[in-house]
Amino acid sequence: MTLKARVKVIRDGFALDVQLDIDQGETVAVLGPNGAGKTTLLRALAGLLPVEGRVELAGEVLEDSALHLRVPTEERHVGLVFQDHVLFPHLSVLDNVAFGLQAQHRPDARRIASRWLERAGLGDKASSMPRELSGGQAQRVALLRTLATEPRLLLLDEPLSALDVTIRAEVRRELSSQLSSFGGVRLLVTHDPLEAIALADRLVVLENGCVVQSGTPEEVTARPRSRFVADLAGVNLLRGKAHGDHIEIAGGASVAAPDAGQGDVFAVIHPRAVALYLARPEGTPRNVWQGVTEGIDLHGERVRVRVKSAVPLVAEVTPAAVRELRLHAGASVWVAVKATEISVYPA
């Protein structure tokens, strides 16, 4: 069972154009900033939005705009879990979970539903109304409601982001175990990298309606191809034109980097590789710029210093170094990066 989707949606000046293939038993997380088109993608796959393109699930064509073919949502056997549970407020927990089974005309719908609740440890909530549940419980019930229908494709729309941080970890653990025992195709969209990395085997990074990068979480964070990914990986990302031993970045500055190759490239510099000095440093580093400190943030035991210079960079230093260099916003500093600390790959 696999999902093959090529989806185009154009609405109010926003264009989504995504190609997505997911294998059975694989959890893919579509990760992207708000407004990237994640929810639009999910709704399109669920059949709640007319799209251009073709969606195929387990060999069955769900949508083919060229053939004017469109399977309605209720016949797609896709499970959709919303950000904030959307449990039917007028039905008990048990009736909520039984709803999809009743729609399938299963005669023992309520018994199956109560078994799902028992197994999830929510048996004592069966007769409660949704408003009597905590946020975490409600989201777990919503997940069970969807899983009970045994969908072929599970679509999760930011399933944890509406929850309190304190219970998020707990629900994430349960979600993770439910996902691994679920046999169909799993697709999660989120703007929370932690959620994506914890739950997914593969990340697809979506920005402005397009896929900018995909791969395992390690692959994606090792070679960011967008500002968004660079930020979540916590590294400096530069883009420019390589000329053998240096890269010319936008704004005209030149960054020395051995074996940079030719053509459009990305360059990643870890903040730990960025050194700060009060005066122009002597010696080896070939990349030295003078700049102004823009901001200082505490990151665990380390301090991240944003410096505005010909090449805008974030440096990671110790609190002791901050005192020594008398760093404060607006302070003048010298930035140095060893050429060998820069990793370059084609754009």
Binding site: L48, F88, F99, A103
Partner: protein
């Protein structure tokens, strides 16, 4: 402040007059008198029948209205709400011209089936429905528009088809809006006078509802008119108290 007090007084004085001048010692007799009982019974029947018809026709109409957009919606909305602003007498005349013996539809009904609608109980029910149904439609449409569409989407994703989505999700979620719409509709139907007397006339036991009876009794039996008015006032107050803030929120 003074003007506000004057405004309030303007509302309260007539009501006070009604209560002060009411022949309380004859109240029981007046209520249980055959004419009053007949009018009351007929009023209840007609207003409840009108509400039932409004529910059956008005909910689907509200559904269609809430799912239409653009000019068509504006047109349909204007048409359905027209009876709310139209003088009821005009509504009665219009009904007469449509369903009267020589009317648009009425002439056909009379020639083909020998059916005559005007001046029957059916006419009273129709007149009340005509005037009162918009209240229900507007309330239900408002409820539909404020309904989170994701409930229906969730139901569809769970495999529920059109009818099941409507019966098990949409309708129950609309219950408060339908209830307040039905109460408003019933109250309006109960008090309907202009369209009823024009289209259905004033036949005791057949078309003489309480408002019509009040108007007629005012000439001959003013005490009776006051008692009947008090009954309508009590019903209105009961609805007002019962609905409280849901009243205008639904509109």
């Amino acid at each position: 402040m003074a003007l506000a007090g004057l405004g309030l007084l303007f509302f309260l004085l007539p009501l006070a007059g009604l209560i002060v001048r009411a022949p309380w010692n004859q109240a029981v007799g007046a209520i249980t008198s055959p004419e009053t009982a007949t009018a009351l019974e007929l009023s209840l029947f007609c207003s409840l029948a009108a509400t039932a018809i409004a529910l059956v026709l008005g909910i689907p109409l509200a559904l269609v209205l809430s799912r239409t957009t653009g000019n068509l919606r504006r047109l349909m909305r204007a048409l359905t709400t027209l009876p709310m602003v139209l003088p009821p007498v005009v509504g009665g005349v219009a009904l007469l011209l449509a369903f009267g013996r020589r009317g648009l539809v009425g002439s056909f009904l009379y020639q083909a089936f020998g059916i005559q609608i005007p001046f029957t109980t059916a006419a009273a029910v129709m007149a009340e429905t005509f005037v009162a149904m918009p209240f229900l439609v507007i309330a239900v449409e408002g409820g539909l528009r404020s309904l989170d569409p994701r409930y229906e989407e969730a139901a569809r994703a769970l495999g529920a088809r059109g009818w099941m989505v409507f019966a098990r999700v949409t309708l129950p979620l609309l219950r408060p809006a339908i209830f307040s719409g039905a109460v408003l509709c019933w109250a309006r139907a109960l008090g309907e006078f202009g369209a009823t007397i024009t289209f259905a006339g004033n036949f005791p036991g057949r078309t003489q509802t309480i408002p019509v009876a009040v108007y007629v009794a005012l000439e001959t039996r003013p005490d009776s008119a006051i008692i009947l008015s008090l009954i309508l006032l009590a019903v209105s107050l009961a609805i007002l108290v019962g609905m409280r803030d849901r009243w205008l929120g639904a509109l």
